[in-house]
Symmetry: C2
Subunit: 422 residues, 2 copies
């Protein structure tokens, strides 16, 4: 039986999850995979701190160098999060030929090229299944089960916090700040929720996933990003009436040498399988030219789901003899498209007088935006709310039309512009 | 670049799909996977028949021996369906050391042990991702991404034909035979629909999938099987009223050394992710002790989705040097449970007179079946329809209670008994 020396960087929630998986299922892994994973060292800030997980005190160290120089350690698992000090640790480990298994989306999304190169130079492995959508098998699945396909499109709910918030807003008719406060109380949202609610977390994950799917490097800067802080209960109610839900989607499409990648709130029809992804669950919809539409659903975060992905990567790394399974990118020259085509939901408040609708329709027409449906809502004495669903139109055209409307005296306000995917 | 000689057994729908994948995406596979898959021979019944797919006539042969004895052929892909002549062909191929990649659920479900042994003896590979749920990556995913988990439960919609029929019945209020006829016209159902509508197709797939998930051999005979031919529009309507849908589910659970495996129509709540699996799509819900709940969704049949899985297996087989990635079963002694616990939906027509409900409740009580809810429906002059949802009860208890009711003068008929999962 093959013996593998493992070091953990950290012993917080996820580290404890890894220990739990190895304690409870280590024997099964030995029998089925013919592999004995032995934890050799665990890097912690305070070796004397009391811990909730049963672990041999002698394994704890506060000196990373002890880990890097230990020849009995083959694989280092990292799940500290953030760039510092995780990035230099990963760099160190790879340069010393140790395989790294990580859940760190920020480090992988931002430093992919450098770390891939480092791994290639030293022959170490670099695995990061756990960095995208926690326990849902995605990266290995795309790389090892969908090789016969050009992936053309992916749409995912890959941030559990915002999905929890939008689900509560939709099902309980509550507003954003109210539900955010509840999510913070429950531990689903951080004290500083910016990374989640502004879409930055989803953007890191989309960078990694779309790079794997398209075999072209999609950096964080290539991805348009808009959060959910402006989503109002009104929009959610109107969406329902029209047969849609609002989800924070990470979307990437590749066609004819062009890639578009974006994270933003999105209308999707209730019949779309992503609509059924509720609460803090994640769901990723992938389209391949041969396989058609696939969806993967599960827990995108949490100690044990993330540990499940980390331990799976550890096993794979060991069975591959630690060899680096590098993602070979295509040579294809691609360009990034930011003037994408979409349908749009638009909500305007206008003066309620004859000729206004004709005026607005005229503005849309001049900007090449054709309308699928127009619904007049809520009328007060002097003004009315009007909802438009456009046909497919270019982002820039819609923005230009809205810009012109903002200067139009009959339009009191442009309340919402939310993209729509089917 | 590694060159691989491939033979196809058959050139029908799926064979043409494989050719299409290799023609259109072969160059991509070369670049990304460093693998040149060359079709060397194709077994057909009639080498002169006109074909819809562009293929070199010189590759066609009607003599299987030509394929088995050809040293340039490393991998044989089989997708003829049924046991004859596929089984002896697979046997032949394996015994001559050729790796077999197959979509044949019946052969794998029935002859797993023999074929695994044959493959092990000769060192050939045996791959069958395409045999379960077509293009949805499942077998490799369970084996290569969920190794850290004991899989405890799986519930799947793994027959597209019956899911199409039940979706149409539910959404259009039509009856079974009417929708079946439409499915036959559209080519979604065979002229003889028995294997689909009686659940036999799903049973083969469940045998394979549960064996992989539980690492214990679950044979076809270990699986209880009930089809959808008795599902009435009334039951579908009542299900909707109660917040459920009816799906043909393949269910397998493992706990404390016991496995239960069954295929039958099932009530599931509309909030369950499997409820959103509509039309001919498949969806498989898998629970692991660490990862929690996962669902995989996609096309369970069709030429290109199936070809996607076959070609992926071919690539995997070649990258593993043709080595046999045998599924190591556990040594654990297990027993099969056929007296499982479930909730039940029961529909009875009873005489409408005082004391009848008490009498029926008494029968349930004597058989340890406790009731969650009782709803009286449709009343005519003399009789009434009553719907019961039970709490969790053993199958045998519920059957015994229904048996006693059938002899009870106040009960005119037991119309339906449908199991319920959440």
């Amino acid at each position: 039986m093959k013996k593998i020396g493992l070091a953990l960087l950290g012993l917080g929630t996820i580290g404890s999850g890894v220990i739990k998986v190895l304690n409870e299922n280590g024997e099964m892994i030995k029998n089925r995979e013919d592999l004995d994973i032995q934890v050799k060292k665990i890097l912690v800030r305070d070796v004397h701190k009391k811990r909730n997980v049963t672990v041999d005190k002698n394994l704890l160290t506060d000196d990373p160098e002890e880990i890097f120089k230990d020849d009995s350690i083959d694989v280092i698992a990292e799940f500290m999060g953030g760039e510092m000090p995780a990035l230099p640790y990963i760099r160190q480990a790879l340069s010393r030929g140790k395989t790294v298994v990580t859940a760190n989306k920020e480090v992988i999304a931002k430093h992919w090229d450098e770390l891939e190169l480092e791994a290639r130079k030293s022959g170490a492995g670099l695995y990061f299944e756990a960095s995208v959508a926690g326990g849902i098998p995605l990266i290995k699945t795309v790389r090892r089960s969908l090789q016969a396909n050009h992936i053309t499109k992916l749409m995912g709910i890959i941030n559990g916090t915002t999905n929890f918030i939008l689900t509560k807003m939709s099902e309980e008719g509550r507003n954003f700040s109210d539900v955010l406060a509840e999510a913070q109380r429950l531990g689903y949202a951080e004290p500083d929720p910016t990374a989640d609610v502004e879409g930055y977390d989803a953007r890191y994950k989309l960078s990694i996933l779309s790079t794997i799917c398209f075999r072209n490097r999609v950096t964080v800067d290539d991805i348009y990003c808009e959060g959910i802080t402006n989503i109002s209960p009104d929009d959610i109610e109107y969406a329902k009436e029209l047969g849609f839900g609002i989800k924070l989607l990470a979307i990437a499409k590749k066609q004819n040498g062009k890639i578009e990648a974006r994270v933003h709130p999105t209308f999707i029809p209730v019949s779309h399988p992503l609509y059924a992804v509720r609460d803090s669950y994640n769901g990723i919809h992938i389209s391949g030219d041969m396989v058609g539409n696939l969806m993967f659903y599960g827990r995108g975060a949490g100690d044990l789901p993330t540990a499940s992905a980390l331990v799976s990567d550890i096993i794979t790394a060991c069975q591959n003899g630690g060899a680096h399974h590098r993602v070979k990118l295509d040579d294809e020259q691609i360009t990034f498209e930011d003037n994408w085509e979409d349908e749009y939901y638009l909500r305007l408040v206008v003066r309620d007088k004859p000729g206004v609708l004709a005026e607005i329709a005229g503005i849309f027409g001049r900007h090449n935006v054709s309308l699928n449906s127009v619904i007049q809502k809520l009328k007060t004495k002097d003004n009315a709310t009007i909802i438009f669903i456009t046909h497919e139109a270019r982002e820039a055209w819609v923005n230009a039309a809205l810009e012109e409307m903002r200067t139009c005296p009959s339009v009191l306000s442009v309340e919402s512009r939310i993209r729509l995917e089917r």
